[in-house]
Symmetry: none
Subunit: 300 residues, 2 copies
């Protein structure tokens, strides 16, 4: 039993003196929140997260809770349930004194959905990308085996159709449940899907086909367990394709950023100008320089 | 104040008589659980999910909670927090009587990506949908105001172009961070995006435009904070559109299931037959009857 007083660890409530400055971030889906504020005179960050619902407490939860009906429709009813206190705790972490680094770490940047016509790409996005001249040296190092050569899972060395397949940094390669590989094209003149034409269909089909085969061979995962897609905007402007395990909610696999490679292929097959002319939608973070450009032009 | 007794809706606890057969699934990350069992003599599914932590209740939460110290290390301390009952409710849905389909729907299952050509839809999927004849009574109840009428956020009553906009079951409407609304079309002859033709552009544009306006009015969220999309396969075969907050990782917003309404509109503008002829990809769960059909035909 870990009821409210039995274990003798009840603590003077440190949050009584907490003054909230701002909510840094939080997830309605994960039921957590990150709060910046002051405890006495010191900077502090408070992190709260609801606890998972435990199977071994269900019987007590059903028996000991109070329910209030919210809605009834046909066979569906919804309730607000108030659970016994000790079965519904909130995990709370206090960081105090917190540094500027802690605060930044937990600060969420808001995103905004940008609508980019084909003309916007030419007049806003492309000039911005060129002006930034993001370094792609790390990509070229991989393609030239000057770095990460030992991580390569598969390579087709053909300069036009070829690519290098290797694990994404985010994947620890310990289990296939969160498999995440990247195929980086050898050819260097495709910045993003905006540059794709029907000429590139052999390249795209080659990456799709050989990437799937290599993953089957190495990880024993068939194509029916894979989500294969490109990002727009990509995080670097050199053609690359994401291979992630179906069912793993990889960051960036949402419909507003990801484009299934199979859709890209079909769209180019029926219209070579599809990605040049189409209005594309994508999220940008509040502090992204490209977002400012769209803002300045009254496009948000 | 929505404390335990004030609103007079306290309900006889229906879970007192609930006998658990098995836990179908659940997510420690999302703090939810799906349970199969019996209520009296009827099959039932109970879904519980903890509610998000609300910014507007933080002051009361800090003031009214009991904390127990778990660990202290340098600048970090962790606690178990017991919150005032009305600030820490569990959203509970009871489906009763539940069918085999409900049980399957919530059973954790592996997914497989299915490739469906336009011909596959006609020869495999459409006959399967017709044979199943899923009941849409609950949808018609909403459209006819026989249920959930008080939940309607906006309605355009036009029988051809109109729709009803209301919160999805999954959203508790307490914060906009996980905003999730559904627009259900009044017209009853569109099963899914496969049925969409350029004739439907006025309907789709109407839902897009008026849905965004209604959300701006009611929730003060501009279009740049919204992800607006359709599912394929949908979970019920009556045209509906999902409106979720950008940045909230709503279940089913991944690229393999979601289709941005703005893309759907553009695709139909350039090709009225786009969704009739295109090969579409979607995940199906291991025990889905439709998956068996594709399997039997050697299509997996």
């Amino acid at each position: 039993d870990d009821g409210p007083t039995e274990d003798g660890k009840e603590t003077e409530n440190p949050l009584l003196g907490f003054k909230t400055s701002s909510v840094l971030s939080g997830s309605a889906r994960e039921k957590n929140i990150f709060i910046h504020g002051k405890l006495a005179d010191e900077e502090a960050v408070v992190i709260m997260e609801k606890t998972p619902i435990r199977e071994d407490t269900l019987a007590e939860l059903f028996r000991g809770s109070t329910l209030k009906l919210e809605m009834r429709n046909d066979i569906y009813s919804t309730y607000r349930l108030q659970a016994p206190l000790h079965l519904n705790e909130i995990k709370t972490t206090v960081v105090c004194p917190a540094t500027e680094k802690h605060v930044k770490k937990y600060q969420r940047q808001e995103s905004f959905l940008v609508e980019e016509t084909g003309e916007d790409y030419e007049s806003i996005t492309l000039p911005y990308i060129k002006q930034q001249s993001f370094s792609l040296q790390w990509v070229y190092n991989i393609l030239e085996k000057k770095a990460e050569a030992d991580r390569i899972v598969y390579e087709d060395p053909d300069p036009k159709l070829g690519f290098v397949l290797l694990p994404d940094f985010k994947w620890d390669q310990k289990q296939v449940e969160d498999l995440y590989l990247i195929a980086i094209a050898h050819c260097r003149d495709i910045k993003s899907i905006r540059d794709l034409k029907s000429d590139h269909l052999p390249l795209l089909k080659n990456i799709f086909q050989k990437g799937k085969e290599a993953i089957m061979l190495r990880y024993n995962l068939p194509a029916s367990k894979l989500r294969v897609y490109l990002h727009y905007q990509p995080s670097y402007y050199h053609l690359h394709v994401h291979f992630t395990k179906l069912g793993f909610e990889a960051p960036g696999c949402s419909v507003e950023r990801a484009h299934l490679l199979s859709d890209v292929i079909q769209n180019l097959q029926s219209d070579s100008q599809y990605y040049k002319t189409r209005t594309l939608y994508f999220p940008l973070r509040a502090e992204d320089g490209l977002l400012s450009k769209f803002r300045e032009l009254g496009r948000l």
